[in-house]
């Protein structure tokens, strides 16, 4: 490579000689010849550089090839370590599912007891006030005081009816919310299935 560079310098030096020559046409011809030689040498140098590149690439590839088994070995070691974590991960997810299922079961049992009692008490109260209102209305034709009492009871009855509607709406909302544990559980079970499948595939890697 240094040899080529020397030639180029010499050629460019020669290109300066025609300045000293006479006549002008000879000076121009000599200059063109020297410049042509220099250009050819430059092209040759570039071609050498390019032809040298594949050999360097080959060297790098062959280096990588020699490193290949080590990289694969390191990857395999890492996979083996990670692979051992997968059953633990699946077990932890199963434990979470069991715990949440247990918690939701307890909550729903208590909720149903409370909802059942509340509904029952509301119903009993509504029935009592309803029958009292009916009694008052039956006897109210002659008694102004009793008419006022009957009206009060009817107002209370309406209030209880609104309470019952609100309780029903709340119960519906709670029933819907409690189902999200089951929906999440099924999604987690799909993830556990995929972890097991992935583990199986890793086991197949020799």
């Amino acid at each position: 490579m240094n040899n080529s560079l020397g030639k180029i310098i010499v050629s460019l030096g020669l290109a300066g000689i025609p300045i000293l020559l006479e006549p002008l046409s000879l000076r121009i011809a000599s200059f063109a010849l020297c410049a042509g030689i220099a250009s050819l040498l430059l092209v040759q140098r570039e071609a050498q550089r390019l032809s040298a590149q594949p050999s360097q690439t080959d060297a790098a590839v062959s280096q990588e090839r020699s490193d290949g088994p080590e990289i694969i070995h390191a990857l395999r070691d890492r996979l083996t370590t990670r692979k051992e974590l997968l059953p633990d991960l699946a077990d932890q997810l199963r434990a979470v599912v069991r715990q949440t299922e247990h918690a939701v079961l307890e909550i729903s049992e208590k909720f149903m007891n409370i909802a059942g009692r509340a509904r029952g008490q509301l119903q009993v109260t509504t029935d009592i006030i309803g029958s009292m209102a009916q009694d008052q209305q039956t006897a109210s034709n002659l008694d102004v005081d009793r008419t006022a009492k009957a009206e009060k009871l009817v107002t209370k009855l309406k209030g209880l009816s609104a309470e019952t509607d609100m309780l029903s709406r709340d119960i519906n909302g709670i029933i819907m919310s409690l189902q999200f544990q089951d929906i999440t559980r099924q999604e987690i079970e799909k993830v556990i299935g995929q972890i097991s499948q992935f583990q199986g595939e890793l086991n197949d890697v020799k």
Binding site: I175, S177, L178, D182, I183
Partner: protein
Amino acid sequence: MAKTFLIVDDSASMRQLVAFTIQDAGYDVLLAENGKDALEKMSHAKVDMVITDLNMPEMDGITFIRELRGKADYKFIPVVMLTTESQEAKKQEGRAAGASGWIVKPFSPSQLMDVVKKFVKERVQ
């Protein structure tokens, strides 16, 4: 006599919530953990309607319905699937197996009772 519903779900809390809704409307309920358990229970008791989940261990909902439709006593019993699956392909699979209706979780009690009343009414007619 009150009609009897069989609720099939592998989740205990789901069985409870569906049972609560159905009993609240004045019906009787039987509970089963999966398709196999449901078939076993149905061989000992008369059931008027079934509400079943799809994904269950031992025997899933689709297999259970196919088995059920193979039995003379339960060939025409209403079977509603109550599941997290909402894909059309799954619904078609359910219909092909013999499901009468499909409700996607989470259900609202009023939505469930609308479906239940529709089938109970049809059975009475």
